[in-house]
């Protein structure tokens, strides 16, 4: 019991230390790199428009399709259906994970230097990002071994966490985009001049 408490304290201490040292880390640039911002905007668009819309995710994990196939199709078509849904579910989780990772890297490099964030909010955001990445890993393993229909509950929790992370990134991008555009326009004007 004491060992567990000590381990927990060490983990919490490490998280706080990492958050503080990262905060004091690299000096902020005047404006975020335009390329980073474009990349983050793309990742956010892919998540919000392509990967996270509820209607798409609900269709992907819809049990009605599975019940229909089990009722009307022969065994080999049932197998084909399960294999296809599993393949797509794993690809979806992998894509969500990649985009979330991209947003996290963007946050580490750029946005928090510009946003007046308290340590508390930063730790909360780091927790959201890491728990989301962990949830994606767990989902991948669960889908691989137990099929896409065993994880519907976890999918909804993951989507809610992803939406929170997207909102935070949206705020950061909202703050950064005008500055980056001005810098970019300034560069263009110098090149033209």
């Amino acid at each position: 019991m004491i060992g567990l408490i000590i381990s927990l304290l060490v983990v919490v201490g490490l998280v706080v230390f990492l958050a503080l040292s990262a905060r004091r880390g690299s000096a902020p640039t005047a404006v975020g790199s335009a390329q980073d911002i474009v990349g983050a905007r793309e990742a956010l668009d892919h998540l919000q428009k392509g990967l996270l819309p509820a209607e798409f995710v609900e269709r992907m994990y819809d049990r009605g399709d599975a019940e229909y196939v089990m009722k009307v199709a022969p065994r080999e078509v049932q197998k084909q259906f399960i294999a296809e849904r599993k393949r797509i579910a794993i690809a979806w989780i992998e894509r969500v994970r990649e985009e979330i990772r991209g947003l996290w890297h963007f946050h580490l490099r750029e946005s928090r230097h510009h946003e007046a964030m308290s340590i508390r909010s930063e730790i909360a955001l780091a927790f959201d990002f890491y728990s989301l990445l962990l949830a994606c890993r767990i989902l991948q393993v669960a889908v691989r071994f137990r099929g896409p229909y065993s994880v519907a509950g976890v999918v909804h929790t993951t989507m809610a966490a992803a939406a929170r992370v997207c909102q935070a990134s949206e705020r950061s991008l909202g703050m950064l985009t005008p500055a980056a555009q001005i810098a970019h326009e300034g560069d263009d004007a110098r090149v033209a001049g």
């Binding site: 990967l51 209607e55 009605g64 022969p74 065994r75 084909q80 259906f81 296809e84 797509i88």
Partner: protein, 143 residues
């Protein structure tokens, strides 16, 4: 605003006669030039101009795609069955051609999300397999 009006015109005059999203998707994809990716519709272009007509067709194509993405597998099977009946091709021949050539892949709108497109194509594949299993002489599902 012109594009919205042109799309409404297209829905009212042409697409209202094509009920299923699969039929609409294939019809609208056939309006698209393979080389340029631009859509052409003589009547609509005459009324609204080439650019507006092209945008309106693209909008309706994306709409049909979203509807197909939202279709259940059962509905997809029904849509394929209706499509085969309407095309006048023997179901066996159509299923075999669609399984071999996968023509539905080129019917997707440009810039649609690759994973969503993969999902639609996967559903079409499963629906084709279900239809194939219903052809005479095929093994029946376990009861």
């Amino acid at each position: 605003m012109e594009v919205v009006r042109a799309a409404e015109d297209l829905r009212r005059r042409t697409l209202s006669g094509i009920a299923d999203p699969l039929d609409r998707l294939i019809y609208l994809a056939s309006m698209r030039d393979y080389n340029t990716g631009l859509y052409h519709h003589a009547g609509l272009a005459m009324k609204f101009g080439d650019d507006v007509a092209c945008e309106a067709l693209a909008d309706c194509h994306r709409e049909a795609y979203r509807q197909l993405l939202g279709s259940s597998l059962e509905s997809m099977v029904a849509q394929l069955e209706t499509y085969a009946l309407r095309s006048g091709t023997a179901p066996k021949e159509m299923i075999s051609t669609w399984k071999g050539l996968e023509p539905y892949r080129v019917a997707m709108p440009a810039k649609s999300d690759p994973l969503a497109t993969d999902f639609v194509c996967s559903n079409v594949k499963i629906a084709l397999s279900i239809l194939e299993s219903r052809l005479p002489g095929q093994p029946q599902p376990p009861r």
